[in-house]
């Protein structure tokens, strides 16, 4: 993997992360922010895998796996709260 390609990957992932982060901060309604958080967590899972790839150690993939499992639970909990399921 060449340096140029690596920079392109970082810019694309970071740009997507930053745009959804802006929606998370600026979003008008709570559900907008929740959707932005969902997108952010998925992009970050990709970023964690990229970091593990750069370090070249497959055991770091566990972090990405745990994150993808538990961010799903977090977003589901937010959705259930907005739906009135966490009273």
């Amino acid at each position: 993997m060449s340096n140029t390609f690596l920079i392109i990957l970082f810019v694309l992932i970071g740009g997507g992360l930053f745009l959804s982060f802006l929606r998370l901060i600026l979003g008008r309604k709570a559900t907008d922010r929740a959707v932005a958080l969902d997108t952010t967590t998925l992009i970050t899972t990709g970023f964690l895998v990229l970091v593990a790839f750069l370090q070249g150690r497959s055991m770091l993939l566990d972090v990405a796996l745990v994150y993808s499992v538990l961010s799903f639970l977090g977003v589901l909990a937010i959705a259930r709260y907005l739906d009135g399921g966490l009273r």
Binding site: L9, L12, I13, L19, A36, L42, L65, I78, A79
Partner: protein, 111 residues
């Protein structure tokens, strides 16, 4: 540069591009349901392509990456569906640009 290497570059780059598109979509779309279109479909395919492309660089990682991919494909639509249902049920969260709304009618008919 072998064929495998070129394929890995192409797939990874496409995945990163789709992830960027999902961020842009979430930023630009006007209301919550349309944001969800970008935030679900694009992130799912983007993650699949990106992780699979990285796996092509390092084939011994593929089983674990497949596990992450499988989990994302299974759970992402569910969380999106739960959020959509919550957004429709909460009156203050519901967008007002819907042309047809059959769900509201069927709810109104019940009560």
């Amino acid at each position: 540069m072998s064929f495998m290497n070129i394929l890995a570059h192409v797939v990874t780059g496409l995945g990163a591009l789709v992830l960027f598109a999902s961020g842009l979509g979430v930023f630009r779309m006007p209301d919550v349901f349309n944001k969800m279109h970008a935030g679900t479909k694009a992130t799912t395919l983007g993650s699949v392509l990106f992780l699979f492309g990285l796996g092509l660089f390092e084939p011994s990682w593929l089983p674990k990456l497949f596990l992450i991919i499988l989990f994302i494909v299974l759970t992402n639509p569910v969380s999106s569906h739960a959020l959509a249902r919550a957004a429709h049920n909460e009156p203050s969260e519901k967008p007002d640009n819907l042309i047809i709304d059959d769900l509201e009618e069927s709810k109104g008919g019940d009560q």
